[in-house]
Amino acid sequence: MVLPLLIVGVSIIVFALTRIGGSPIGIYLSHEMNAEEVAELEERFHLNDPVPVQYYYWASGVLTGDLGWSGVAAAPVTDVFPNKLAATMELAVASAIVAVALGVGLGTFAGARRDRAPDHITRVVAISGAAMPLFWFAILMLIVFWVGLGWFPIGRSDPEIFASIAHPTGLYTVDAILAGSWTAFRDAFWHLVLPAVTLGYGATAIIARMMRSSLVEELQEDYVDAARAKGLAERLVLRRHARRNALIPTVTVIGLSFGFLLQGTVVAEIIFRWPGLGRWMADSVLRGDQATIMAYVLFTSVLFLFVNLVVDVIYAYLDRRVVLGS
């Protein structure tokens, strides 16, 4: 299997970055320390050992859940991580739902009406989506829907409503459902809409574009003519035959666009003041919080790799011509 090898490779890059960016014990040092205490720290972090040995200690630390101390959060990285992760996952999953639904829908709509107005509009959406700076688009959305129209709030929840229910999962919409509170659910959902749609735009464009072109291709196949010849309604030809096959190549793009979403959370969380991993990462970048940066890179890369693995498996399942492991 290639996957473990890739994960080891990524971990080596991350480790190398920790050594390039100044001393890994920098965060634990203070002016009051004497030379002896510094030497003790160096000993504890194995800085006097050869680099491969240092890597071994670092990697076994990571595997046992020791990701170091986050200066930004003023706590061990592993303590803060789950909570922030829940916030980011709620946002990313909501965006993914938006992107897949809109992308497949738009792509189908356009592909079935090739070279007519809906097709041209979708093409504009698709091309502009690839070129759209998320940081700018998000600010425009804020200018229109938050400042201008005042339809949507900013942040993740209303503090009073937040305090009114328990939060066992950290996913506020799920927590609200578990608590059976309609007010809390509406609040969580309302806060989620604008960032999720904004973040999902880029991925929507990628998916719509792929869906459209593969649908156009499928519609030229013989089986479509056969379906039409036997008198099947065009709607059914589209829904039962062409769209199903067109979804196969689209699945791979959905996997890729998940990476796009993951990256986007950094920017979206800054602008929408969403207290997730992405904003923590951005703060850490600006304040040189190495432990958090490295944990974040490691985590997103491994997640990205797993998502792509899952996509490969789904692809093989959908397209029987692909044989895994060859």
Binding site: L17, S128, F135, W136, L140, V266, T300
Partner: protein, 309 residues
């Protein structure tokens, strides 16, 4: 398969006619590219942007001593577009938005040219070596490429720039480290494909050296997708670079689009939309234009994909 139609130079020593063929083909290609309205639109935007970038010192009064720093007009803080002396308004700290828009083009042009030329050179070298040599070398190089591709682009660049410390120069460096891998992969696939052609065997039979075959036959016939990708990346690099500087990895006060959008962010809740909107629009147009041109080039240079669009 327009690519393999190019005359095998080893067999056609009459260099003048070969040159004429190439010129004619270049003329045809240009005609094809320009006949597509969206590609043409992209080209026009690019021309305008590059013109603006090159003429920046003449169409604005360069800030002294450092023209890449925003000039501050402390007498006109956060004035709206259309104010005297500030056609696009100013930021919360009196920075002229128009100045930033124009000099931002210059900085973006420099950024994308540096990163694209470095990454294309490295990518071609690595990809050709892997594809042309094959075997062990190929395997090792491609595993390294795979590892680089496992880390999402923006996050990788963010981490590198963060580790190196915040400055625009480090953003350039970080993007160069991240962006070469795609070219290596594209180039390798092309070289493996092209070296199976008969004209390569022919050149070998004639007794051409391995290096000469590579330079004269393999490289020119493999380069097309690299050119397309480089065009797209001229846009993408500015997009990612501006994102990094928006997050705060460039020097404060730099006359760069991402920095300006970030500066303007503070004013939006007070209704001051202009300081973020105009510089961000420039990033969008820049990336859009190169995307349109890249797409157009791909259609013309690589007709195989045309059917599907």
């Amino acid at each position: 398969m327009a690519v393999s139609e190019a005359p095998p130079t080893a067999l056609a020593p009459a260099s003048e006619s070969a040159l004429r063929v190439r010129m004619r083909r270049a003329g045809e290609l240009t005609g094809n590219v320009l006949s597509n309205p969206t590609t043409l639109a992209g080209l026009i935007i690019i021309t305008a942007m590059i013109g603006m970038a090159l003429l920046a010192p003449w169409i604005t009064t360069p800030n002294t001593p450092n023209p890449t720093q925003m000039p501050r007009d402390w007498g006109a803080i956060a004035v709206p577009p259309g104010s005297p002396g500030h056609p696009l308004g100013t930021t919360n700290t009196g920075g002229d938005v128009l100045y930033g828009v124009i000099w931002g083009a210059r900085i973006s042009l420099r950024l994308s040219l540096i990163v694209v030329s470095v990454t294309v050179a490295v990518g071609i070298a690595v990809g050709s070596l892997a594809g042309y040599r094959g075997g062990r070398v190929d395997e090792i190089l491609m595993r390294i490429v795979d590892v680089f591709l496992s880390i999402p682009e923006l996050i990788f660049a963010l981490a590198i720039a963060a580790v190196l410390g915040p400055s625009f120069r480090n953003i350039i460096l970080a993007l160069a480290v991240v962006f070469w891998v795609k070219y290596a992969r594209i180039m390798r696939a092309q070289v493996i494909h092209v070296k199976q052609n008969e004209y390569v065997d022919a050149a070998r039979v004639i007794g051409d050296s391995s290096w000469r075959i590579f330079r004269k036959d393999v490289l020119p016939n493999s380069i097309t997708p690299v050119i397309v990708q480089a065009t797209l990346d001229m846009g993408n690099i500015v997009l990612v670079g501006a994102t990094l500087s928006f997050i705060g990895l460039a020097e404060a006060g730099l006359a760069e689009w991402g920095v300006l959008v970030s500066e303007g962010q503070a004013g939006i809740s007070a209704g001051r939309w202009w300081a973020s909107t105009f510089p961000g629009l420039m990033v969008f147009l820049w990336a859009l234009a190169f995307n349109l041109l890249g797409d157009g080039l791909r259609d013309v240079l690589d007709p195989r994909t045309e059917a599907s669009r």
